[in-house]
Symmetry: C2
Subunit: 359 residues, 2 copies
């Protein structure tokens, strides 16, 4: 009875013991040298123990470990970074930090990075290729060890160029070199899934609200829609395919346009969930019921789609998995390891906005 919202497992983590007093001594941070003195060994020995670089006698090891604990020492990351040429930081480029779409993916990345010692710096490209390039440069200048690019607007060549500096993994594109990896979901398949679902319910006049122009994901979804139509022997009617941009407002406008120009349609397939929300509102404003009068389907399965009124039928994208997989792949690239990725398939999530066409 409860709607199943998409979301990664949120660990109700129960970190045990933590003594606030421990590290909260506000004196200047201890250095490795001080630890060495305290333990009566050389700095190198401390370093060796810290990094497991070489064998150290149990006696000294014990002394050093003691000193470390006693002095509450932690190595200075800047110094390590400077020395090793690795910052233990990765850069993440999203398009909009305040978008549920990216959030889920970030969550997956977060999970994968947790406990690896890597931290991440997140920047926004704002769907703008020039800004995106600018931000990637910034990350590179900051010496990140690798980059995850989510739904970038830049060309594959640019990605390849950047990958010469640091390994990079990108979603939404097919790519595979030693230092760059791109993988994408099968948008066309997903769109066919959605369209076929509608067709199976008896719909023949299915409106489509597109994504932004020149956006690969958007284009492929449109193409999947067309294919499914063709396969079912339904003529493609450009009059009921209207422009959107993946945001709520565009869905609202598009639907209102459809309605006001008196197009004939019994179902709407919005290129993403956000857009479907807007469509839903437009329908509501006109007093048109969903799904009784019009069926509605989205794409993405954002967490909130399980709580719309009524809950939205949509195509689930494994956002969180994608994030996790991207991060793991990047870690491999950074280590020079081979990567092989496979992401879970898209699946149709039938909720309550689609209904068999009566009669």
């Amino acid at each position: 009875m409860l709607p199943t919202a998409q979301s990664c497992p949120r660990p109700s983590s129960t970190l045990a013991r933590f003594h606030l007093s421990d590290t909260l001594t506000p004196n200047a941070p201890t250095t490795l040298i001080e630890v060495a003195q305290q333990a009566g060994v050389s700095p190198s020995t401390v370093s060796r123990i810290l990094n497991g670089t070489a064998k150290v006698s149990d006696e000294k090891r014990r002394a050093v470990l003691d000193a470390i604990a006693k002095m509450n020492f932690a190595p200075n990351p800047m110094a390590q970074a400077l020395k090793k040429g690795k910052s233990m930081t990765i850069g993440i480029v999203v398009q909009d930090i305040a978008s549920p779409f990216f959030d889920e993916t970030l969550h997956g990345i977060d999970q994968a990075l947790n406990g690896t010692g890597y931290a991440s710096v997140i920047v926004s490209g704002h769907w703008n290729a020039a800004e995106e390039i600018d931000r990637i440069r910034l990350l590179l200048a900051r010496k990140v060890d690798g980059i995850i690019l989510l739904s970038g607007r830049i060309t594959d060549e640019s990605v390849l160029q950047f990958s010469k500096h640091k390994p990079i993994v990108s979603t939404g594109r097919a790519l595979q070199t030693e230092r760059a990896l791109g993988f994408k979901i099968d948008n066309e398949y997903g769109a066919r899934l959605a369209t076929q679902h509608l067709i199976e319910l008896g719909h023949r006049h299915i409106a489509f609200i597109t994504g932004p122009a020149n956006h690969t994901d958007a284009d492929e979804r449109l193409s999947g829609y067309k294919k499914a139509l063709a396969e079912a022997g339904i003529a493609y009617n450009p009059k009921i395919v209207v422009d959107g941009d993946f945001h709520e407002n565009s869905g609202l406008r598009a639907t209102t346009h459809l309605l006001e120009t008196k197009q004939k349609f019994t179902a709407i397939f919005a290129a993403n969930d956000l857009c479907a929300y807007g469509a839903r509102l437009s329908l509501y404003r006109k007093g048109i019921r969903v799904p009784e009068d019009i069926s509605l389907i989205g794409f993405d399965d954002l967490p909130s789609s399980a709580y719309t009124t009524p809950p939205l039928t949509t195509v689930r994208q494994p956002l969180c998995d994608i994030g996790r997989i991207a991060a793991q792949a990047l870690l491999h690239l950074i280590n020079g390891d081979a990567v092989e990725t496979s992401i879970p398939p898209l699946e149709l999530v039938v909720r309550e906005t689609t209904k068999r066409l009566k009669n």
Copy 2:
């Protein structure tokens, strides 16, 4: 006619000129010393020009600038950080990276940081004090220059303790020292606003879905609700005050509980928007209309609240401003400057889920 969704201005930034070829030479990054050699000056001179630390003759300055441009030099942040003891990084602690609530605030922070040279590392506390402490320690170990804590679960004392290491600004608490600043919205006022709105519409039986136990924001909202009731001479009825936890599911469960135990109420005030979404769905499932049968009001004004069906009446929290102000304040603290903050007041946003009680 279009709903107004809360959101910061999303700059459709038009960064001009960018020559990909410029920085994409994958050779090892240039160092300041090489620049100095190329320009025929000493490293210090280059450093001076870079930092504006001292006067330099036009001639040498020109030579250095030329060399910098020619060699496409950018100083190594790790080296700078090690030397200056400043990493130009700030740490942000959210509770959930994938929550629209935090997103808007992050967006504000992002805006404030943009162009300052500071980058941010975001970590999640997952509403868990122990984990939060752990994460803050992590940030401190990473040598962030300051911390922004959003809706932390830790005590004020802990914050004060941490602030001895690095400046910290926190939302959701009142605090003001040399190195720590906390500011909060007037939850009680906001809750009164919401409750009064309902009362003015003629409602006398107003159910309330609480936030998580021991959560300051939640407690204060409950208290505001009670106050407004008392002011209107309406008896407080604990039977229609039910537990929630700020998430959709709890709103759904709470409302279902209200309905199944046959409580008498004509309106629901949910302690936050997410919770209101769940309530909305519960009502929908039972075939109860909003706002005709039951009025519903939330708290926060998340961006998506303008697109629910019907659009949600709620109390707007200036999330984005809060983020911006927090970041600016932190920057001031870091510089040792005085800070004075004032955040915009909460305001009632009347949309379409509340209605005058007929009778």
